[in-house]
Amino acid sequence: MDRAAIIGIGMTKVESRKLDKTFADMAFEAVRKALDDAGMTIADIDNVITTSNDFWDGRTISCMAVGDASGASDKNISCVEGDGTFGAFYGLARTLSGSYGTTLVTGHSKGSQSVSSLITNAAFDPIYNRTLGADMITACAMQSNAYMARTGTTPEQLARVSVKNHGNAMMNENAHLGMKLTVKDVLGSEMIADPLHRLDCSPVSDGCCAIIIADEKRAKKSKKKPVWIKGVGMCADAYFLGDRDLSRSESLVKAARTAYKMAGISDPGKEIDLAEVYDAFSYQELMWLEGLGICADADAGKQLEKGSFDIPGRLPVNASGGLMGGHAVIAAGLYRIAEVVRQIRGEAGAYQAKKADTGLAHGVNGLAGQSHCVWILGKDR
């Protein structure tokens, strides 16, 4: 595979409810920011991938709302339905296929417009599971219990993730929910589904993120120093929750291995400087870090308590505040990529990691982390 890089990023502020903005308005804002960031005009964009979800957007063919506003009126365009990291994966493939020198990738969602539990309930099998009333939170609560029972991870350790990420979000001007919390605050918040308290759950937000991927030739002409895509991996586990060992994340292990192999990484815990992982729920950050091999199995909670994942720590995780700080579903993984780009460029301001040569961004599709997409980004080609 040839090399490609990210040469532009644009993020709208993540907010609880953007009443003044349609999907198109959000897309236009994010795309213009990405173009400005890259020092490009829309004419420099060879093709476009939008990422959206028809259920979340409340319409079939949800991509219709944003194509023109993303500048694709007379360009090749497609739409991935899933997390933004998966949309970006397709954007990368289109860039490397030799067809397009630059690919604009966007992801958008407005959680404010729907009832999220009904949307995620529709991800359950309509024949066997759906009428039982399960949704993303109940599925993840079950996974959290399974994970905690197997690894001995404690509710306090979960709460500590929430404290860290909501705290980090206070330094991120794009975040939706920055808060100074204590472990006691989290454990004292309303129990949503055992063992998950309200503050163990990320919010559901509105936002749009755009990135520009370029092939080597175009990347070398970019205004800012390109952030190189070193490795990418993607993998899906079994569908029925009962078919999986919910306490483990086999598909993440495999996706990460693929990405590391491509990037030439043999010891991720040492070679990766920072990570933005999909912390939709507090336990997920710990579980994913173990799946990613950034720390040993059953060790993430302890590492967290030592401060390893704090911004001044050994390997800052979700320095931006992660999904806890703002969760525009679908766009969320693309925000992770954009945040890693910020870090590697040294543009993360108050939440800048000390060392940021190699970063990891991570996105999830489906219930309780069924399908994962892992990105390794780096400063050097």
Partner: protein, 386 residues
């Protein structure tokens, strides 16, 4: 280095109006197994999977995740691409890019739909803007009827001209065991069938269908080892303009003109009517068979009806269109565009059996949907020289 890409196997279900004997995953699996058998590959050989459908026909969110038992993607990379009616062709274009990127050598592409599981027109209506377009829109037929009216007003075509296309496709379907509707009709029967939306009669439009299609694409490094004469992809392109239905130029399919111009230029095709040997057109209703081939540059604007009437696009004619019987004979929406791609590939590979067009060098397959959108793939017998 970017890789050249070929189709090395295809598989389809035997499409029917209603398949209560299988659930969605099982329907998908029928097509996947057929494509694997056709290519002589096993699921272990597949490096990645792309799947597509339209969410609101079955009401299942995160179909990429839900479908893995049928698609075979457990512990493999899979993602979903969805763009409405164009989905089937969009995912074929997706498969092309995944392989061309060098990331994967063998990619399985799956399109499917169980249209029997919801009210199709109602579900299509939800595709359009909820605030501005949804009140009066009545599924695909209303928009298509508006196109036909505009074309007729502009070029003086008649409903008989439309009916002739339907007669052609329904006759061709007799040769395709996978088609859902396999019954010959006459011009008079089309014109006497109930008026759905002026000027469209019942026999001018596609049915709704349960069906799935799978296509396996491979890189130039392995394609000829899998398949002696694969179908090489010479170009892909699409246009998805417009945010609202009223933005379109009714009576012309601008997206088709732009996508086909781009692809033909890339492939050095100057006289498409002479250089292309067969077309599988995503043509959900009869009048599109006249209008859209004009936009593709096969004939001049306003000359479509005359060309169809001459028999040039019938089997045995100068440029057979829809040897499979096309969309009018069978329309499992998320699969429909991919069926066009598979049928075109079969024509190039010489595997089209009773519906084979002789000596196919170049074939075109298309997808249609969304807000007057077109996706297109150019297939060729020879390996592209670029």
């Amino acid at each position: 280095m970017a890789k050249r890409v070929a189709i090395v196997g295809t598989g389809q279900t035997f499409h029917k109006s209603h398949r209560p004997d299988v659930n969605g995953q099982e329907l998908i699996n029928e097509a996947v197994r057929a494509a694997l058998a056709d290519s002589g590959l096993k699921m272990d050989d597949i490096d990645a999977v792309i799947i597509g459908n339209m969410d609101h026909f079955e009401g299942i969110n995160y179909v990429d995740c839900w479908s893995v038992d049928g698609s075979g993607a457990t512990m493999k990379p899979i993602f979903k691409i969805t763009t409405g009616g164009t989905t089937g062709c969009t995912i074929a274009i997706g498969g092309y890019h995944l392989v061309a990127s060098g990331a994967f050598d063998r990619v399985l592409v799956i399109g499917w739909e169980k249209n029997s599981e919801s009210d199709t027109s109602g579900a299509i209506t939800t595709a359009f803007d909820p605030v501005w377009d949804r009140l009066v829109f009545a599924g695909a037929i209303s928009g298509l009827a508006a196109e036909a009216q505009a074309y007729m007003a502009r070029y003086g075509a008649t409903d008989k001209d439309g009916a002739r296309v339907s007669v052609r496709d329904r006759k061709h379907a007799l040769n395709n065991p996978h088609a859902q509707l396999r019954k010959e009709v006459t011009l008079d029967e089309v014109l006497a069938s109930p008026m759905l939306a002026d000027p469209i009669h019942l026999l001018d439009v596609c049915p709704r269908t349960d069906g799935a299609c799978a296509v396996i694409m491979a890189s130039e490094d392995v394609a000829e080892k899998i398949c002696k004469s694969p179908d090489w992809i010479w170009g892909t392109g699409n246009r998805h303009p417009y945010a609202y239905l009223g933005d379109a130029d009714y009576g012309r399919l601008t997206s088709m003109k732009r996508a086909s111009t781009e692809i033909f230029k890339k492939a050095g095709i100057k006289e498409p009517r002479k250089q292309i040997n067969v077309i599988e057109l995503y043509q959900p209703y009869s009048f599109a068979g006249i209008i859209w081939i004009e936009d593709m540059g096969i004939v001049e604007p306003g000359k479509g009806a005359e060309y169809i009437g001459s028999g040039a696009t019938d089997m045995g004619g100068e440029l057979p269109i829809n040897p499979s019987g096309g969309v009018i004979s069978c329309n499992p929406i998320g699969a429909t565009g991919l069926i066009r791609c598979a049928e075109a590939a079969m024509q190039v590979m010489g595997k089209a059996e009773g519906r084979q067009v002789p000596d196919v060098n170049f074939a075109v397959s298309t997808g249609f949907g969304g807000c007057w959108w077109t996706d297109m793939v150019l297939h060729g017998k020879k390996k592209p020289n670029y």
